[in-house]
């Protein structure tokens, strides 16, 4: 079982997200006394009792305004796993932060207030989780203490959510009735809900199986850096350093290098500790080949019988992240895709999506801050891509404004443009 689990949460102050995280951290002893003391002091200064959100809201502006602005990363560990939480604000104006937090998450934690059922915000969070291909969604039906721990209420919320989720692409969906405030089913099993025989939230997160989430089939090795020591001991050494983005590489394997198309075989896979028998995602290794081929950063090593799409014309979903300008056809940007950098021109906006209703506006002429849409673009040089749903590493890219150097869009590749 993978020892690190990355999960993303989204939510606003009153849905109990901070309390839930606070409880996970506190009950797993990841909150320290001095943090608790300074939080107590800060809460007191604001005339409040212990406000656990002050633990995560790290910036002065956030504490002053009582809101979460940015993604905060929190860490805790149990004997079974190390957890990395990307804690993001839930309001629609922070969609870009949610997308950011979701991009690396294995699990999305969605909180639903048992009294209110599935609301617009829960739909939005779930949609973002499915768009970013977070493989596991865990729905915590929270504040069960306020509905008398009613099984019927829980079942209603679950059915409502399931119905909505059928329109999304969610590989693994589970539901846990909790009370973050009272501690029911967060770390310790609730004694108030005998009708629930599933795991607590923590035990579910500890045992969640994530091994099959990574692509172990399609060998993808984007060359990041060429290592040439040029000293006496390693006179002719030429290694291609990079992080495995998919599949399993072994010495002796036949490989092809893109874009040149030259073929060779893997001579060795090196690390400082010595050569390894195989390399898989997300290992960072150095690959040597048996033939002298001209290879540089941005090239891709893969298997001759399993190659990515090589194309300059790409269709993708994008989330726009820049407040100073919008995306519109004919605009040009820098693109960063794996270790490859180039320039692209936006050809067409296919549609803009209403992320609350999933309605597609095909008349849209631009995509603005926090909006999501489907576009097609042309790149100055061929990109080696996979569908995002098949590989999150070779299927993702960012667009960068060439004048301001801001990261303006996050993109998820759908495939090569038709025609």
């Amino acid at each position: 079982m993978s020892e690190i689990l990355r999960f993303a949460t989204a939510g606003s102050v009153d849905d109990g997200k901070s309390t839930l995280i606070g409880r996970l951290l506190y009950d797993s002893k990841a909150i320290f006394e001095d943090q608790l003391e300074s939080t107590a002091k800060a809460s007191e200064k604001r005339g409040m009792e212990m406000d656990l959100s002050l633990l995560t809201d790290g910036l002065r502006a956030e504490r002053e305004q009582g809101i979460t602005i940015d993604v905060a990363y929190r860490y805790f560990a149990t004997p079974k796993r190390k957890f990395i939480i990307a804690d993001t604000p839930g309001h629609i104006q922070y969609t870009r932060n949610m997308v950011t937090g979701a991009s690396t998450a294995d699990v999305a934690l969605i909180l639903i207030d048992a009294r209110n059922g599935v609301i617009e915000q829960s739909r939005r969070h779930s949609f973002i989780a499915s768009l970013l291909r977070i493989p596991h969604i865990v729905v915590c039906v929270n504040k069960m203490d306020l509905v008398d721990y009613s099984e019927e209420t829980f079942d209603e919320v679950r059915e409502e959510f399931r119905e909505f989720a059928m329109r999304l692409d969610v590989p693994d969906l589970s539901f846990i009735p909790v009370s973050a405030l009272a501690g029911d089913n967060v770390v310790d099993k609730s004694t108030n809900m005998d009708w629930y025989d599933g795991p607590t939230l923590l035990s579910h997160l500890e045992t969640l199986h994530t091994a099959s989430d990574r692509n172990m089939v399609d060998v993808r090795f984007p060359v990041q850096y060429v290592i040439r020591p040029m000293n006496d001991e390693y006179h002719d050494y030429r290694g291609y350093a990079g992080t495995v983005a998919g599949g399993v590489l072994k010495p002796g394997d036949d490989v092809v290098v893109l874009p040149s198309g030259f073929e060779s075989t893997i001579k060795s896979i090196d690390t400082l500790e010595g050569p390894v028998d195989e390399a898989f995602a997300p290992m960072a290794v150095t690959v040597r080949l048996n033939d002298e081929i001209d290879i540089s950063r941005g090239d891709m090593i893969c298997r001759p019988n399993n190659q990515p799409i090589v194309s300059q014309d790409i269709d993708a979903m994008v989330c726009w992240m820049d407040e100073t300008q919008s995306l519109s056809p004919r605009k040009k940007y820098s693109i960063k895709h794996t270790t490859r950098a180039g320039r692209v021109m936006i050809k067409d906006i296919n549609y803009r999506l209403d992320i609350n209703t999933l309605h597609r506006d095909e008349e849209a002429t631009e995509i603005s801050l926090n909006e999501i849409g489907r576009i097609s673009f042309r790149s100055t040089l061929p990109l080696f891509v996979d569908e995002y749903r098949r590989n999150r590493e070779t299927g993702s890219f960012v667009l960068i404004d060439e004048a301001t150097n801001s990261t303006v869009a996050a993109g998820m590749i759908l495939g090569e443009s038709a025609g």
Binding site: E3, T100, I227, T271, P282, A284, S406, A410
Partner: protein
């Protein structure tokens, strides 16, 4: 065969990826080395990232002149072993040339004076990327900082104008005079660092292990006797068995009472502790709720 990495190997892979990315995309990076355990682990990761080649960037030490001698020896030894250049930017030189002004009084430290010294070194050496060993679990402002942290012409961090950072795609584009602070061990915790030191048998300065030292108590911390700190009324020196959890200046870094004289014992101690390392041992972070955020905005590490 299970295709799973241990948590240390996964963290290591992420850090190596970041360091290679910087080496590939920047003209003139440097690794900020304090001699503390975090920068020691970072240096070890750099060694792994470029093996069998040498690390393709120099080490940069901002030397306050108030260091533990053990740490300076360690720093010199490592740079020699690795065969990479060590650049020392001295706070004393910055004070002498008028870039920085020394604080006075018994509580004087050279913590803030590191900022102009560092910014001057960046300008002098034209660094465009600087690796730092900060971790997000250390402090709440750091919990929100990007792996690639953009700094303007004045070296300032603007927490509200951070670039979105997704997947493992890092935006290192800058204009002349700007630079990026890069934090490759952002996702490591204090415990991860210690487990890695144990697992990889990483050498660290002696002061991290339990030893006898002449100390005095101030603000609930045990500070070491040194030529740079004067006692205040009611304070007195005494002998104690201590070790350090963090390494900063002798003037502001508190020791903790400890019998832990091996890495294994330190891990047990860290796993059981109920105080963060900065909260327990750093006077510089205690001055206000936003002490770290404010210093970072000015260009601090």
């Amino acid at each position: 065969m299970s295709y799973e990495l241990s948590h240390l190997r996964e963290l290591e892979a992420e850090s190596i990826h970041i360091m290679r990315e910087v080496a590939a995309e920047f003209e003139n990076p440097a690794l900020m080395f304090s001699g503390g355990k975090d920068s020691i682990v970072m240096l070890r990761l750099a060694e792994k990232a470029f093996h069998p080649a040498k690390i393709p960037f120099p080490m940069l030490h901002i030397d306050t002149g108030h260091n533990f001698p053990e740490v300076i020896n360690f720093r010199d030894r490592r740079s020699e072993e690795l065969g990479i250049k060590l650049i020392v930017a001295s706070v004393q030189d910055a004070v002498d040339s008028g870039i920085a002004t020394d604080e006075t009084g018994p509580r004087a430290s050279r913590n803030r004076q590191q900022i102009p010294t560092l910014l001057d070194a960046i300008e002098t050496h034209k660094f465009d990327a600087l690796f730092g060993g900060a971790r997000r679990d250390e402090e709440k402002a750091r919990a929100k900082e990007r792996v690639y942290s953009f700094r303007d012409d004045f070296g300032q961090w603007d927490p509200k104008a951070q670039r979105p950072e997704l997947w493992s795609l890092y935006n290192g584009r800058i204009k002349m005079g700007e630079h990026i602070r890069v934090f490759p061990i952002s996702n490591w915790t204090e415990l991860d660092i210690w487990q890695y030191i144990a697992h990889d048998d990483v050498a660290i300065p002696e002061i991290y292990f339990s030893h006898q030292r002449t100390v005095f108590e101030r603000d609930g911390m045990l500070l070491a006797k040194s030529e740079w700190v004067d006692l205040m009324d009611g304070e007195e020196y005494f002998e104690e068995t201590v070790r350090y959890r963090t390494v900063g200046d002798m003037t502001i870094t508190g020791a903790v009472e400890s019998d832990a004289d091996t890495v294994e014992k330190i891990i047990a101690e860290v796993a059981a502790t109920r105080k963060t390392e900065r909260g327990a041992t750093r006077a510089d972070d205690r001055s206000s709720e936003a002490a770290m955020e404010d210093r970072k905005k000015e260009g601090y590490f």
